[in-house]
């Protein structure tokens, strides 16, 4: 896949070392594809001058090692790269199966979500685990995946007061989003389960197993299975290579 999808995008200076490229302000998987493709092209052509690439829902941010001396020249340069028909080694994308225990022991907000939304707990679990989610990008915390694709029946307001300590591995829904807390942190989403999987481990070569563009599916497991997997705290999630 080397063709551009041809979406309108704009460039903005963001300080003197950073360039922000933006697409229409919508959450859309096709735009994500374009952002990831453009990122790979820039990486191939300008590996040395850019130290970091940050993907957002509709943006790609390039952080340069040094000050960008001529912003307009650099933008024309990037636009040339965008138009180039580069042969890229597109990295394989994976579907990751994430075991989640939705037992009330962990899903501490399940009952409240169920009574307020009038959807049974069983149905909440079904709706949450039957969808395949797309990883748009990673932010907020190291290893926190921004997932798209939550069933609109599960759109549910964030808690009025965020919890100060959400446990590591908590699976939660908030607004139109769902996600997994990779470490203990404050958080205002409604907790519906917990995964024994470690989403961020600095000791691993790849501290976070997933990449933007990958897919995620949650697989319900029992309490026994949760504790069994949690004992073996180094297990890798089941993954399936997705065809491009």
């Amino acid at each position: 896949m080397v063709l551009n999808l041809g979406f309108k995008h704009t460039y903005k200076a963001f300080g003197n070392k950073t360039i922000l490229i933006e697409w229409s302000s919508i959450i859309d998987e096709v735009i994500l594809e374009e952002i990831l493709l453009f990122k790979e092209k820039i990486k191939k052509e300008k590996r040395n001058s850019i130290i970091d690439f940050i993907v957002g829902y509709n943006s790609l941010t390039l952080i340069y090692e040094k000050e960008v001396l001529n912003y307009f020249d650099e933008v024309s340069n990037l636009e040339l790269i965008y138009k180039k028909d580069l042969k890229l080694l597109v990295k394989g994308k994976f579907l990751w199966e994430i075991p989640v225990c939705y037992d009330l022991e962990f899903g501490i907000d399940l009952e409240e979500v169920s009574s307020k939304s009038k959807i049974s707990i069983e149905q909440i679990i079904n709706l949450h685990s039957e969808k395949t989610y797309s990883v748009f990008f990673i932010g907020f915390l190291p290893g926190f995946l921004y997932l798209g694709g939550l069933d609109s029946k599960l759109f549910f307001d964030r808690r009025p007061t965020p919890r100060l300590n959400v446990e590591k591995g908590s699976v939660a829904i908030g607004g139109s989003q769902t996600g997994v807390y990779p470490s203990k942190s404050a958080g205002g989403w409604n907790i519906i389960g917990k995964t024994p999987l470690i989403f961020f481990d600095v000791k691993k070569d790849k501290p976070c197993f997933a990449n933007a563009g990958d897919k995620i599916k949650f697989k319900p497991i029992s309490l026994e299975e949760f504790y069994e997997l949690a004992r073996n705290n180094n297990f890798t999630p089941f993954k399936l290579l997705l065809n491009d």
């Binding site: 509709n58 190291p142 926190f144």
Partner: protein
């Protein structure tokens, strides 16, 4: 080694931060005031990449188990070796069992202790900068042993100190560029941001710094996108937040300003109730 006798208010090991891990959500971190940290390393002829100790408000005490040369730059917390005052921004020879302590705060918020060869604590994701959930510790603790090299030399202490621009610590003028969402502001909001003098609230740390005054705001949140140290966000409540070195890699509030590099360093030397005025460059 350097033995920690007292850990102080907030003391951490920092270098120039983690580069290249933004795509997995890892903040850059690194020294808050790179201007001062660079001076400390330069005086010792260290590499600018060497890790230093970032000391907030002093209060800490260290004992050296090695001979080495040190340099302290940045804020003035009346540093002493064995109770004898020492000069900032100069080379100081220390001997085994010497004790470095800090006293009265004269100016600034953060000082940097550099040692010849740098602090050799563990490097995680290509940096020694402390950060919660990345490194084992995020603050130094009493009785910690911080590894450093021995440096035995006849190098005499410098007689003259480096001259530091005092404005770095006292000026309330903070240089900045327009942020990506600056143009979403209406004329009234732009004028408020450009002319107001803002006060730093007590909610200020390595992650960011909230300002007290309110700029009435009806701009909606944006789709989550990148933020970087020095980004100024306008929150729905109308309060501005200046993001600092430990900030997250993404955020959803409009990014109205972006501080210059030197302005980020100046902000690192400010604290609760200090005033700031944004000076907007084109």
């Amino acid at each position: 080694m350097i033995k920690v006798l007292k850990s102080g208010f907030y003391t951490s090991v920092q270098d120039r931060g983690r580069k290249g891990f933004g795509s997995i959500g890892v903040p850059i971190s690194g020294v808050m005031d790179s201007y001062s940290a660079n001076i400390a390393n330069s005086v010792l002829k260290n590499s600018l990449e060497n890790a230093v100790l970032e000391i907030t408000f002093g209060g800490c005490e260290f004992e050296f188990t090695n001979e080495t040369i040190i340099c302290i730059s940045g804020a003035n917390f009346s540093a002493k070796i064995n109770n004898e005052p020492i000069t900032l921004n100069s080379r100081i020879k220390v001997n085994i069992n010497d004790v470095l302590s800090f006293g009265k705060i004269v100016f600034g918020v953060r000082c940097y202790l550099a040692v010849k060869g740098g602090f050799l604590t563990n490097s995680v994701l290509k940096s020694r900068s402390f950060y919660q959930n990345i490194t084992e510790d995020f603050l130094i603790k009493k009785d910690d042993l911080l590894p450093i090299e021995s440096y035995i030399s006849d190098l005499r202490p410098l007689n003259a100190a480096v001259i530091i621009d005092e404005l770095h610590f006292v000026s309330n003028k903070i240089g900045c560029y327009k942020g990506p969402e600056f143009d979403l502001l209406d004329e009234f909001q732009k004028k408020e941001i450009e002319t107001h003098i803002f006060t730093i609230s007590n909610d200020n740390n390595r992650m960011g710094c909230r300002l007290n005054e309110i700029v009435e705001n009806k701009i909606p949140s944006i789709l989550t996108s990148a933020v970087i140290p020095g980004t100024v966000q306008l929150t729905p409540s109308g309060k501005l937040i200046i993001l600092m070195r430990d900030c997250q890699v993404t955020g959803g509030y409009p990014r109205v300003l972006q501080l210059t590099d030197s302005a980020i360093n100046q902000m690192a030397q400010k604290t609760t109730n200090n005033l700031v005025k944004f000076i907007l460059y084109d």
